[in-house]
């Protein structure tokens, strides 16, 4: 796991200051989307090798939700942005 995350608000911080929520690419289904769609949304996740976007919460810093794009194989951080900047509300 990458160890230094460059928070856009706080600067570089160790991963211990963050809480990882998981995949930032999934979208909340409509309330009546049906059991399969909701099962997939709640339980099913890909396990990608390579670039991956996740929601990270800067719990012990600015308390903002961020989108961290990292490489699951090399631990390289490609980009960090405030989640609200992308309109991500899932």
């Amino acid at each position: 796991m990458a160890s230094l995350i460059a928070c856009p608000h706080c600067g570089p911080r160790p991963k211990e200051e963050f809480t990882v929520r998981g995949d930032a690419g999934i979208t909340r289904p409509a309330p009546d989307a049906g059991e399969d769609a909701w099962h997939a949304y709640v339980y099913l996740r890909d396990n990608p090798r390579g670039r991956h976007k996740e929601h990270w919460h800067h719990t012990s810093g600015c308390r903002r939700w961020l989108v961290v794009e990292r490489d699951t194989m090399t631990h390289t951080i490609h980009a960090v942005s405030d989640a609200s900047a992308e309109g991500a509300t899932a």
Binding site: C10, G11, E16, E17, S60, G61, C62, R63, D82
Partner: protein, 190 residues
């Protein structure tokens, strides 16, 4: 009507006090329990950085009274205790663009100073505290060890830490440990 009186006891009243560690290195650390005056948490919408100039209105005008720690988030701090009515009376000063929450019961201030103060704090946090990147007046919310705290530089060799009340004595004890190699004078009385 209360059946019994609630007594306010300073969080660090019973904390370890005295001189510890190396006898004299010329870089001694001083730890001070600061007055439990007022701690106001101010929250606004995320695109509220323009409110920066508005927030000092609710402060007491002292240096470092306003401490930003994230988008639309500030702590406003002072030595004087404020009544609920006095705090409520400050709300109109923010023109309805931010809310105030009294955290005076919940957070404690610790002063730490001395020539080696950056070295001591660097044992606990990854924030770059060098004066060039962390000038007087700058604040950062971070972890010191496993304890969350707001660090504010108040001078060339002095910082203030704002920590949750229940963690104050743990942090105090850890700061003494972290300072032993330089020698440390801990003043828990207020």
């Amino acid at each position: 009507m209360a059946d019994f009186a609630l007594l306010h006891r300073p969080a660090l009243a019973g904390a370890k006090a005295g001189s510890f560690g190396a006898p004299s290195t010329g870089a001694r650390i001083t730890l001070t329990a600061l007055p439990e005056g007022h701690v106001l948490q101010v929250l606004a919408a995320r695109d509220s950085d323009h409110l920066q100039d508005l927030i000092p209105r609710i402060g007491d005008g002292s240096p470092h009274a306003v401490r930003p720690y994230g988008p639309g988030q500030w702590f406003v701090i002072g030595d004087a205790a404020l009544s609920a009515a006095e705090i409520f009376g400050k709300t109109p000063l923010l023109d309805g663009m931010a809310s105030i929450s009294d955290q005076g019961h919940g957070r404690i201030r610790i002063g730490i100073s001395g020539r080696a103060v950056e070295t001591v704090l660097a044992k606990g946090t990854a924030v770059d505290l060098d004066r060039a990147s962390f000038p007087v007046g700058r604040s950062a919310m971070t972890l010191i060890g496993h304890i969350s705290a707001l660090i504010t530089r108040t001078g060339a060799e002095s910082f203030e830490l704002l920590v949750l009340r229940g963690f104050a004595e743990s942090l105090w004890d850890e700061l003494i440990q972290m300072s032993l190699e330089f020698g440390v004078d801990a003043r828990a009385t207020q």
